[in-house]
Homo-oligomer: 367 residues x 2
C-alpha cells in the first residue's frame, strides 16, 4: 500500500488502497474513492517496463483530473550462480582432499562422448576441467559417430565394474541410430550421477524414500534458493516446463521441500495467470523472454534455467544468450532473479561434482 | 452473465455484469452501475449454501433499495462409481473368458495377508470374491501376526516364480516388526499390480516412459473422469493430499493427460484458494468434510477418495461414512461429484482386476 500526495486535493478526502496490480495480477488497477462532496473519483494505475502512470479520473469526465508519472528502479536481487558454484566447488575440493588424506581414494567420473557435436565436446571438456580443478579423477571415452550401440554398452559395463569410477555420464544427445533409453538404463544405479534413472525419479517422487542422486540442474536450482535463504516450505511454486531432465524433477524436489507446486506446460491454457500466483518460479522451457513482467507476482523469486541464443548484430559472436524470463521486466517486479548467463548454468557442473563426491563417499562408506 | 429485471428501474438504465463469484473465487460480488441521473448504484450478490441474495444499494443510503432471494437447487451430476465399476468388471470378465478360450490361460492374483486386522481381512475377502466373479484365479496366503519377515519374503519369492500367478498383492499395513519397503521391493516388477514399485512410479513421472502398472485407486479416479467424458487436457486440476498410494500418483497421471496440476497438502497455506482454481479436484486426505462449498469453483468436477467414518447415533452401526468433501455443499457448486460410499471405492478393486488381466495378457503376449 503506497501513500501518494495529489495536488489540489486535501489528503483527508482521498482514501484508497494503491495496489500495483489487480488481484488477478493483471496490470492497471482502478480504485473507487467515495467522496461525499463531488462525483466519485477513479484512480488508475498503469505500468509499462520502466514507467508507472497514476491518473485520477472523475466519472463525469473522461479525461484525467491529474496524471503523474513515477519512474521505478530495477530492484530484484541478482542470484549469483557463478559465485555460489565457485563456493560449492571449493567445498567439494576440500572434501575430496580430506577423503584422499583419510582413505587414499579420490572420486572418479567417467564421461562417454559419441560423435563430433561441437556443443557436446565443449560440455565434456568443461566437465573434465571442473573435475581436475577439485581433484576428481576424470575418465573420458570418445567414440566415433557411427559406433555401434553395443560398443557404448561395452564401455558402460566396464565403468560399472571399475571400482575407481564412482560416476558415469553419457553425454546427450546420442546419435539417432542408438536407443537412448537402453544406454541410460545400462548405467549402474549406484553410478548414475545424472540421476535420470527411473528408479531414482520414482524415489524422488515418493515420500519416505530417498533417491541415490538428484538430477544436477534441478538440484542446482534448489541449492541457489537455499544459499540465498529463500524459504520454500508453504510457498507457492510454479515450474514452467515438464522435461524429464529439469522441469519434472524440479517440481518433485520443491514438493519434497513442502512447497505447493503447480506445473505449467505447453498445454496450459493461461500460463501467465498460473505463473502470477507463484512466490517461486523455476522456468525451463527454452523460449527466449517468454515470461514477461506481468507474469510475475511482485516479490517473487525467479530461477531461470533457459539459455537461449538470440540474434544480436552488435555482439561479436552475432548472438547473445537470454533466459526464458524477460530479465529487464522481471527485475522490476521480482525480489530476486538469476541472470543468464551466470545463474543456473554454472550450478549444473558444480552439482555433478557434488554428486560424484557423494557417490564415492557412499561406496567407501566415508562420512 | 445473467439478466435480471429489477422493479422500478427501466432495464436500459442498468448495465452490469452479474457474476456469481468474485474473480478471486470468494463469494459475493459488487458491481458498480453507472447511471447519469441518480447516484451510482451498487449491486451486491451474496450466497450461502442454499440461498443466494441479490441487493441493490445506493451510495447515498446504507439500506438496500431492493433485495431478492433466489433459492438454488443441488445440480451436480452424481458420478456413479458402483455402476462404472460393474461395467469394468463385466469387461474384464469378457476378456478373461476370451483369453481362456483362446490360449487356455486364466489370470491369477496372489494376496498375502499377515495378522488378524479385521479391516484387512475384509478387504482380502472382497478381493477374492471379485476375482471369482470375473474368472481370475485367486491364491491366498494368511500368515500369523508374529511371522518372521523372512517367511513373507519366502512366499513372495514363490509367487514370483509361479507362472500361474500374474499379480502379487501384499495387504497393508504389515505388522510393525516388518520392513514394508523390503517386502514390497521383493515383489517382481512384472507382477506388481499395485503399481507401488518406485521404478513404476518413476516411469509414471517421466515423459516417453510407460509404467507397467498404474496404482489402482488413482487409475480408478481418472477412469471415472474418462467414462463420464470429462476433458482433462488443458484443465486446471488440484490434487489434495500427496500420499504415495493416491495423491502423488494421481497428480502424475493427470499431468500425463496434459492437465495443469497443483498439489495441495498439509503445508499449503491457503488450500481453499488453490482448490478454488481447479476445474477438476481429486481429494485424498482422509479428513471428513474438509473441502467446503466455498473451496469449489462453480462447475468443477470432484473425485472424492476419502472414506471417513463419523459418529452417527441414528445409524444402526453408530457411524456413517463421509468423504473429504462436504457433499451437501459441493453438490450445489460442482457440475459432477462422486458420492461416498459408491464413488471411488468400488473402482479400486475393479482396477486391481484390470491390472491383473493386463499382466496376464502381457506375460502370455495375448492381445
Amino acid at each position: 500500500m503506497a501513500s501518494i500526495k495529489l495536488p489540489g486535493f486535501s489528503s483527508s478526502l482521498i482514501k484508497a488502497r494503491f495496489l500495483p496490480f489487480n488481484h488477478d495480477g493483471s496490470r492497471g488497477n482502478t480504485v473507487v474513492c467515495i467522496r461525499r462532496d463531488v462525483d466519485p473519483l477513479s484512480l488508475e494505475f498503469s505500468s509499462t517496463n520502466s514507467l508507472r502512470t497514476l491518473s485520477l479520473r472523475s466519472y463525469a469526465s473522461s479525461s484525467p483530473v491529474i496524471s503523474a508519472k513515477l519512474t521505478t528502479e530495477a530492484s530484484a536481487k541478482v542470484i549469483d550462480g557463478k559465485s555460489v558454484a565457485k563456493t560449492i566447488r571449493d567445498e567439494v575440493a576440500a572434501e575430496v582432499s580430506r577423503m584422499k588424506d583419510a582413505i587414499g581414494v579420490a572420486p572418479g567420473l567417467a564421461v562417454i562422448l559419441v560423435g563430433n557435436k561441437k556443443d557436446s565436446a565443449t560440455y565434456v571438456r568443461n566437465k573434465k576441467k571442473a573435475c581436475e580443478s577439485v581433484g576428481i579423477n576424470s575418465f573420458e571415452v570418445h567414440l566415433p559417430e557411427d559406433s555401434a550401440e553395443q560398443e557404448v554398452l561395452k564401455f558402460i559395463s566396464g565403468f560399472n565394474d571399475d571400482p575407481t569410477v564412482h560416476g558415469i555420464l553419457v553425454q546427450l544427445p546420442l546419435p539417432s541410430h542408438m536407443n537412448e533409453q537402453n544406454i541410460l538404463n545400462a548405467v549402474s544405479l549406484e553410478k548414475d550421477v545424472d540421476g535420470f534413472h527411473p528408479l531414482n525419479i520414482g524415489r524422488l517422487a515418493m515420500r519416505g524414500r530417498d533417491p541415490l542422486f538428484v538430477p544436477c540442474t534441478p538440484k542446482g536450482c534448489v541449492e541457489l534458493l537455499h544459499r540465498y535463504g529463500v524459504e520454500i516450505k508453504g510457498k507457492r511454486a510454479v515450474v514452467i516446463g515438464r522435461s524429464n531432465i529439469v522441469g519434472m524433477p524440479a517440481a518433485l524436489l520443491l514438493q519434497r521441500e513442502d512447497a505447493t507446486v503447480s506445473i505449467v506446460h505447453s498445454r496450459t491454457k493461461n500460463p501467465e495467470e498460473v505463473t502470477r500466483q507463484a512466490d517461486i518460479i523455476i522456468s525451463a522451457v527454452g523460449q527466449p523472454n517468454m515470461v514477461r513482467g506481468n507474469w510475475i507476482k511482485p516479490g517473487a523469486v525467479i530461477i531461470d534455467v533457459g539459455i537461449n541464443p538470440v540474434e544480436d548484430s552488435k555482439s561479436p559472436r552475432g548472438y547473445q544468450l537470454v533466459g526464458d524470463v524477460c530479465y529487464e521486466e522481471a527485475c522490476k517486479v521480482a525480489s530476486a532473479i538469476t541472470p543468464v548467463p551466470g545463474g543456473v548454468g554454472p550450478m549444473t557442473i558444480a552439482m555433478l561434482l557434488s554428486n560424484t563426491l557423494i557417490s564415492a563417499k557412499r561406496m567407501h562408506n566415508f562420512q
